[in-house]
């Protein structure tokens, strides 16, 4: 149950990237989670809902791309999908296999918007509260 830390990392990376683009807010964050990690999606959603208010990602959707587990047999090179148990080559029954997918935990992309969440009819395209987040993430461009 370390989903709070995971969401904090997701938000840091997203806010940094969105700020560099001069975005007002983030509308969607896309991540990939491998089947063999210890991430629980309900805990991730809960942490995301709890931690996004007051940030550029307030109201954003968290989209999770689930990645199944697959391996390659070291002896006969066959690639196959599997669950957590019985990772055995379907062709030669060998058990020396290299994991190809299943341990992913990555932030893929974000959708940004130039208009703040509570866009007021008044002038100015400066962000308001979000500015504080942008400050911490701004600085060196590359």
């Amino acid at each position: 149950m370390h989903e709070m830390g995971i969401v904090a990392s997701i938000l840091d990376a997203s806010v940094e990237a969105a700020s560099k683009q001069g975005a007002a807010r983030i509308t969607e964050i896309k991540i990939s989670v491998g089947e063999l990690t210890e991430i629980q999606e309900f805990a991730l959603d809960f942490a995301f809902t709890a931690m996004t208010p007051g940030t550029m990602a307030e109201g954003a959707i968290l989209t999770v791309n689930h990645i199944g587990a697959s391996s390659r047999c070291v002896s006969c090179d066959v690639e196959f999908e599997h669950g957590r148990f019985e990772i055995v080559c379907p062709k030669c029954s060998g058990f020396l296999c290299e994991l190809i997918t299943g341990r992913e935990l990555s932030i893929d992309s974000i959708e940004i918007d130039d208009a703040p969440l509570d866009a007021k009819p008044t002038d100015g395209d400066e962000t308001n509260e979000d500015g504080s987040n942008a400050d911490t993430a701004s600085g060196a461009g590359e």
Binding site: G5, I6, S9, A23, V88, F95, L105
Partner: protein, 229 residues
């Protein structure tokens, strides 16, 4: 507008772990991350391992706990440098905690660091600390069904220590079934039955560890050799 990010969520942890790893490599220190539930016998197993290896290697221990210095004091009492990390509630160690802990150690004088992770069968598995190997301990009273319930830790461990083996006769622990499930999750991991407080079985575990340490050191000196040329 979509912006591509494409980076690991635990990017910062991975980066700091690589920095730790570079320090360990530069000082030729082998690092073991030992994971288990609370009460499985991590500290006792570390003490038994130290007793088996201390004539051969200079060892230090990094103790991870939510609170207290109890474990570090137990290790220090045996004349082994020990650094206590208190995670203050966090359920696992992360690489920045290790980074701070190794500042308190004289890496140049060490051959091995044993990291005792926070007692937990879930969270430590997702965090690389810069170690050479992750090993886990299950104790007999916890039951043979644990690999079904916590498969990931059994899948990523290079070896499984089965502690409190001297209590096998009083618990309903099906050892053949346990070994079969561990094998299905992790076919190459050896299982070492030990009774850490009595020292039984420690020899086989220690021999495996020595072989693992020596192969890591050999690989390190090979890569250093190729760097120079």
């Amino acid at each position: 507008m979509e912006i591509d990010i494409s980076k690991p969520i635990l990017d910062r942890n991975e980066r700091l772990a690589s920095e730790n790893r570079a320090l360990f490599d530069a000082n030729d220190v082998f690092v073991l991350d030992l994971m288990a539930s609370p009460g499985a016998g991590k500290t006792s197993t570390i003490l038994a391992t130290i007793a088996a290896l201390r004539d051969r290697y200079n060892i230090a221990v990094i103790e991870g706990d939510i609170a207290s210095r109890v474990d570090a004091e137990k290790i220090s009492a045996h004349g082994i440098p020990a650094v206590q990390i208190n995670t203050g509630g966090a359920c696992h160690l992360e690489s920045d905690m290790i980074k701070r802990a190794i500042n308190a150690l004289d890496l140049a004088s060490l051959d091995i660091i044993i990291i005792e992770n926070v007692g937990n069968l879930v969270c430590p598995t997702d965090f690389y600390l810069g170690e050479d190997a992750k090993v886990m301990i299950l104790s007999i009273p916890e039951g043979h069904d644990k690999p079904y319930k916590y498969p990931n830790i059994f899948a990523i461990a290079e070896a499984v220590i089965l502690n409190k083996y001297d209590t096998l006769s009083v618990f309903d622990f099906d050892e053949p079934e346990f070994r079969q499930v561990v094998h299905s999750l992790n076919p190459t991991a050896p299982v070492f039955p030990v009774s850490a407080t009595k020292g039984d079985g420690i020899d086989a575990w220690a021999q495996w560890l020595i072989a693992r340490i020596e192969s890591a050191k050999a690989a390190r000196s090979l890569s250093k050799g190729s760097d120079v040329s």
